[in-house]
């Protein structure tokens, strides 16, 4: 019975000492291994983790240990929500948590934090990902092009969700459309008279791909049957599949 209240001391990189229950500390496979194979009485050094981060991690471990042991009356949904709130931190903290979870081998925390980052990446283009995480693009132009070409299908412009069609609009209305849209793709219908330069400039600022449907009457016409959605600005955005490059 004495083992349930055994405490383990942990010293962080910034010389802070934490005393925690064994059950909580051994959520970390690394600490567990050191404890079981090393000297259980002395302090375990967690060199790579700072006091703040370890404190957060111990909160996480404690919550999960308590809920699993039934010490805390918390439903799976409530725990899920708690986890979701736990990762609502700034980017630096999130990455520190990932590094610490990786180093301390706390699988569930690593899964949670990695999934959080994955959710931030999903649906973004490379340029956006780089901006979000402040990543330097160390590709040469040829190398990047090679990867894109090798995986053409992923980068090909397939209409899909979030495509805006511009047809029979006046110039200023058209500019408003492009400025306010959340679409990634803008298709200009064949019969639309447009000042391509001004539209391209606007579109580039927002990383929108602009495609102009050619005048050729044999080009496949827009499939109407997919979806229509009314956007707050009062313009209608069409979602459809359409392939045609300028």
């Amino acid at each position: 019975m004495g083992s349930t209240s055994t405490k383990i001391k942990l010293r962080t990189s910034d010389q802070k000492v934490f005393e925690v229950e064994k059950a909580v500390a051994v959520q970390s496979q690394t600490i567990k291994y050191i404890y079981e194979n090393g000297c259980p009485d002395s302090v375990i050094h967690v060199h790579s983790v700072s006091g703040d981060i370890l404190s957060k991690i111990l909160d996480y471990c404690k919550k999960h240990v308590n809920s699993a042991a039934g010490k805390e009356d918390i439903s799976p949904e409530e725990l899920y929500e708690w986890d979701a709130n736990f990762v609502k931190v700034d980017q630096n903290t999130l990455f520190d948590l990932i590094l610490a979870a990786n180093c301390l081998k706390i699988e569930s925390l690593l899964d949670l934090t990695c999934q959080t980052v994955a959710n931030m990446i999903k649906g973004k283009r490379p340029e956006e990902i780089r901006t979000t995480f402040n990543i330097k693009n160390d590709y040469t132009i040829e190398a990047e092009e090679a990867v894109r070409r090798e995986n053409k299908w992923a980068f090909d412009m397939l209409g899909g969700v979030g495509t805006m069609v511009i047809e029979e609009l006046a110039d200023d209305t058209m500019s408003k459309c492009v400025t306010n849209t959340k679409s990634r793709v803008c298709v200009i219908a064949a019969n639309q008279i447009v000042m391509m330069r001004s539209i391209s400039k606007l579109a580039n600022k927002k990383s929108i791909d602009v495609y102009k449907q050619p005048q050729n009457p044999t080009t496949p016409r827009i499939k109407e049957s997919v979806k229509q959605r009314n956007v707050g600005t009062g313009f209608i955005e069409l979602f459809f599949h359409f392939k045609c490059k300028m």
């Binding site: 780089r130 995986n151 992923a154 599949h241």
Partner: protein, 419 residues
């Protein structure tokens, strides 16, 4: 971000959910590219995630899947779930499976292969932990040569397999814990279609849309049993009383036997079923640990039978969640409400009607009296499209009486769900 090791980036990219997102993200920088090539553990091609797939032909899909898989190494999870694709060619599927054979732990595949390929023969078996197969057929199972030493979860959907092969397959999986059988086409040699399965490690089984004469399952570790939309003459569960969760939904079964010693039941959920009350009662009455009881859209074999609250209160003192919906008939309803024992621990009450009548509000009132610690009540009603004047009147009366009633129970949260 720069400090994250490449394996961790691989872990992150593996959680993106779709191969397209992974490929796009890999262009971010060279480290990410390396992560996607050498440290990606999961890759998924799912048609419902990615609308653009609908415009690509199966042949083109085969090409892009092959190109993408072959850019990775050490893949542990492969998911190819394409609902709109008729079939993939056997040689391509074989290539995917052989390439990932050494490291694969999870395989999800639901596209017909032409000509038919024995997926079990080709996919990696040594490390496989999860296998979900659909729209393929399984033949010639040889447990001596094809063992799945790590398989914990098996799901077969729209698969054609013989009863013998199914039973042999389970013997080839010494660690199986979860089994899902959906819409199986069971090939039988005799006139009687019988399935006899034995799996000592099985904890959970889900069976949907199966029609058989006899289904026997021997499982000494079973905890969850869920049958849905099945037509069976006989269903027999042979175990040692470990069952905790029992759910049947829209099942027609003449002889249902889930064992003699089922004292550990925690959840019993029966819907769209005709209950023979004495037999049913005998089955569950010793489950004093029961937490949730749901009898929804049930009919009783004997018209005079009813669920009586006294029995429920006495047999299931730990009941927290009670859900009842069946036709209320005058004489019988009062019999069911006799007695004075309260359902002390019931916190959630779900009550439903199929045809509304005046008895319903009275029934709700009586039930509220018997649940002193109730916190939440949900009323489910079906409202017919064409409402006669009478029906409108009944609904109005019901609404008024509920409003009045709930004034007495201010601490109970009430919700309504109408369909």
């Amino acid at each position: 971000m720069e400090h994250l090791p490449v394996e961790v980036i691989g872990n992150i990219l593996s959680r993106l959910g779709g191969a397209r997102d992974v490929v796009i993200a890999s262009v971010t920088c060279r480290k990410w590219r390396e992560a996607s090539r050498k440290h990606l553990h999961t890759l998924a091609f799912n048609s419902n995630d990615l609308p653009p797939y609908r415009d690509i032909t199966p042949k083109q899909l085969e090409i892009l899947i092959t190109q993408t898989i072959f850019q990775t190494t050490g893949l542990q999870g492969l998911s190819i779930l394409m609902d709109d694709v008729d079939e993939f060619s056997a040689s391509t599927v074989i290539a995917w499976l052989m390439y990932t054979r050494e490291t694969l732990r999870r395989l999800f595949y639901n596209v017909r292969t032409s000509p038919n390929v024995n997926i079990l023969e080709i996919c990696g078996r040594q490390k496989l932990e999860t296998l979900a197969l659909a729209h393929n057929s399984i033949t010639g199972v040889e447990p001596n040569f094809q063992r799945f030493p790590c398989l914990k979860s098996l799901s077969l959907s729209h698969v054609s397999i013989s009863a013998l092969d199914l039973s042999l397959l389970l013997t080839a999986c010494p660690k199986l814990e979860s089994l899902e059988l959906v819409n199986l086409e069971i090939a039988m040699s005799d006139a009687q279609v019988t399935v006899e399965l034995s799996c000592p490690t099985l904890k959970s089984i889900y069976v949907e849309a199966i029609s058989l004469d006899k289904f026997m399952l021997e499982a000494d570790s079973i905890e969850r049993l869920h049958l849905r939309d099945c037509a069976l003459e006989l269903f027999e569960l042979i175990g040692i009383g470990t069952l905790k969760y029992f759910k049947i939904d829209d099942v027609s079964v003449i002889h249902l036997d889930i064992g003699e010693t089922i004292d550990n039941l925690e959840v019993v959920d029966v819907s769209n079923f005709t209950i023979i009350w004495p037999k049913f009662y005998q089955m569950i009455s010793r489950s004093s640990k029961l937490r949730k009881l749901r009898l929804w859209d049930v009919a009783f074999d004997d018209e005079d039978e009813v669920v009586d609250l006294e029995t429920i209160a006495v047999c299931f003192p730990q009941l927290k969640h009670l859900a009842l919906s069946y036709e209320l008939r005058d004489g019988v309803m009062h019999y069911g409400l006799q007695g004075s024992s309260n359902l002390e621990n019931v916190m959630v009450l779900e009550l439903g009607w199929t045809v509304i009548n005046d008895l319903f509000s009275h029934w709700v009132e009586e039930l509220l009296k018997r649940c002193p610690n109730l916190r939440k009540m949900i009323i489910f009603g079906s409202v017919s499209e064409v409402k006669s004047h009478e029906e409108c009147q009944i609904l109005a009366n019901f609404t008024s009486s509920i409003v009045q009633l709930m004034r007495k129970y201010m601490n109970v949260e009430v919700h309504f769900e109408f369909e």
